[in-house]
Symmetry: C2
Subunit: 370 residues, 2 copies
């Protein structure tokens, strides 16, 4: 038998809000809690997708899952993952972007095993090729285990201007950790086209891999204020008082992304190129593209009455969904989204403009509807 590998933890980032999926998404029900693509809420799919990678050391993979989210989302988030105990949830009292939260998770894992590898994974993406994804994760975990802070870069399928990119040294080789050169912000259309043509730029999907101790060392070096806060939390944790300490420590931390706070400064960054049908599910249009379609290209729950209509996207999130009927007659390419307190009817083409509705509701002083 081989020497058992150190444990692999998954830190799933499940905070954030979002107005692109109103009325499905709300401040208290952000995108990752919604069944926008695939089977079930995106968050739960994310966790189930990576359990097999966390199961490397014979322990229960559920013991290797951490969920970072805002305290206000705790209840809704826990409800989707009843397998997880209380300690699995890292509840941020206030949002401080990704760096403080990832650093905190590294500290929590390091208390158990500083050699353990942490996979940082966003919770609101869709992945078509789950096996291919797991293979890429394992490559990234191996890279991290060797001491390199590692990220996954997605092979671009279009000259997208809405994502950041990562430049790698040399030509991209799938399935192998390569040397990353730098992170670049959302480019212009021209630059994005050049990136895709050049073949050395990958999409930054916000996935990071490291040994707990390596991230803590990087934080010590590049984010010393965060490191100070972690020291206070570690001491409080040893007295069983971490939860209380959070409320004084967390708000005092700088709000900074892991990309800017840590990744940009690293002398060495490993990048594993990936090609596994990744989508950030950025709009109802994307949800329609990913959805299971009937012969007329409609994405709708079974039971929906669709007469003479093509290319519609119907999402019913009401408590009574399935007991009531939604009927579309003679309409094409619409987006119809129902919740208990709101109904949206728009076109797939205009789906990005639902944020205008949120703006309008804010103007009206609505609180519960947004």
């Amino acid at each position: 038998m081989n020497k058992p590998s150190s444990a692999v933890f998954a830190l799933v980032l499940a905070g954030g809000a979002g107005t692109r999926f109103w009325p499905a998404s709300r401040s208290l029900r952000p995108k990752q809690l919604l069944p926008l693509a695939g089977d079930g809420p995106l968050l739960r799919q994310t966790v189930e997708r990576v359990l097999a990678v966390c199961a490397n050391d014979g322990g229960s993979p559920w013991d290797r899952v951490l969920i970072a989210t805002g305290a206000h989302l705790a209840e809704a988030t826990r409800a989707m993952l009843p397998e997880l105990g209380q300690p699995a949830f890292l509840l941020e009292p206030v949002p401080r972007n990704t760096a403080p939260c990832i650093a905190w998770a590294a500290a929590v894992v390091a208390r158990r095993d500083p050699e353990a590898v942490v996979m940082v994974l966003p919770s609101d993406h869709h992945i078509a090729d789950v096996e291919g994804f797991r293979a890429t994760l394992r490559t990234a975990v191996e890279s991290a285990r060797s001491g390199a802070i590692t990220t996954i870069g997605i092979r671009p399928t279009r000259a997208e201007t809405g994502f950041g990119y990562i430049e790698v040294e040399g030509a991209v080789v799938t399935g192998k950790a390569q040397r990353g050169l730098k992170f670049v912000e959302k480019p212009s259309a021209e630059v994005a086209a050049a990136y895709v043509a050049g073949g050395r730029h990958l999409w930054n999907a916000g996935m990071f891999f490291f040994r707990a101790k390596d991230m803590l060392a990087a934080v010590q070096r590049y984010l010393p204020k965060v490191a100070e806060g972690l020291a206070v939390l570690d001491q409080a944790a040893s007295r069983g008082e971490e939860e209380q300490a959070l409320f004084s420590v967390f708000p005092a931390l700088p709000s900074v992304s892991i990309d800017h706070g840590v990744m940009d400064h690293l002398p060495e960054l490993a990048v594993v190129p990936g090609d596994f049908g990744w989508s950030d599910v950025g709009s109802f249009q994307a949800a329609w593209e990913l959805g299971a379609k009937d012969e007329s290209g409609n994405v709708a729950a079974p039971g929906t009455v669709l007469l003479d209509g093509e290319g519609n996207y119907v999402l019913d999130l009401r408590r009574t969904a399935g007991k009531r009927v939604i009927a579309l007659v003679g309409v094409d390419d619409l987006v119809v989204v129902e919740t208990d307190d709101a109904l949206l009817v728009t076109t797939r083409e205009r789906a990005q403009d639902v944020k205008l509705v949120v703006d309008e509701l804010k103007k009206r002083g609505e609180k519960t509807l947004i």
Copy 2:
């Protein structure tokens, strides 16, 4: 002071079903119970419109109102007219078309005053010019008081093939009872065009006026089986047992319309031409045409969020209407109708095809949804 006129009763026909307004209309919530045009349910508008005409003799006009409906609709119908006592509702145990029901109402009125005039009025129409309508009603009542069974004919505004017509002798003169020649069924487009061009055909709007005793005499003559049933009901009523008798008498009556059962046989028929913005509100398209529009031609409750959309019709009949939001973004000419258990999205152009949804639900064995 003039001799007091005999009483004027309104018999409002509020039975019937209808699939053209699904999901707003249901077997237990037919069209007349819906706020499809004007202010409030069509039935209640019908009653309020005619109270002034029933108030001719100084009594309370509410005591002059009779509502004929199906027993299964009793509860919903009463709820809309709390001013009316139990005896005002003529509840048909089974539908037998209009003749038995109108004859029964004539008998009920005759027990109080055989000279009283009865106005028979459908409950599911919209009338724009209420004062003009009342003036026409008064002319028709005068005609009926003189002993002529009278109807109102609507001046056609288009070559409609969906209505029956009434031919009058000579040119049409508004505001005056004229001699009617015959009822004609729904014509072909060609024939309808000729009717409109000819100027001697009016739409049959199903409004009839007669003294109670005159209708009873006509029923005796042309519908003897109905007259026999009425005799049984009269006897039972004298013993306070009319309600029980109905269940044996009514189902045995022939199912026949007043047009075919009585009107077609009359040697003399008076027709009062009317021109008061009448609409039968035949579809959501008609409801949109009649509705109050915003500057973009949308008909929707205040509070609806309408962004970059024109000509939409939105009807929210949910219990929570007003507490939830409906948002339309970038869509035109749609019909959006919500109830507690159903949502319809279609176009104004396809609005007539909602009956296809009802067919589909029947095929699925749905009962409560239709």
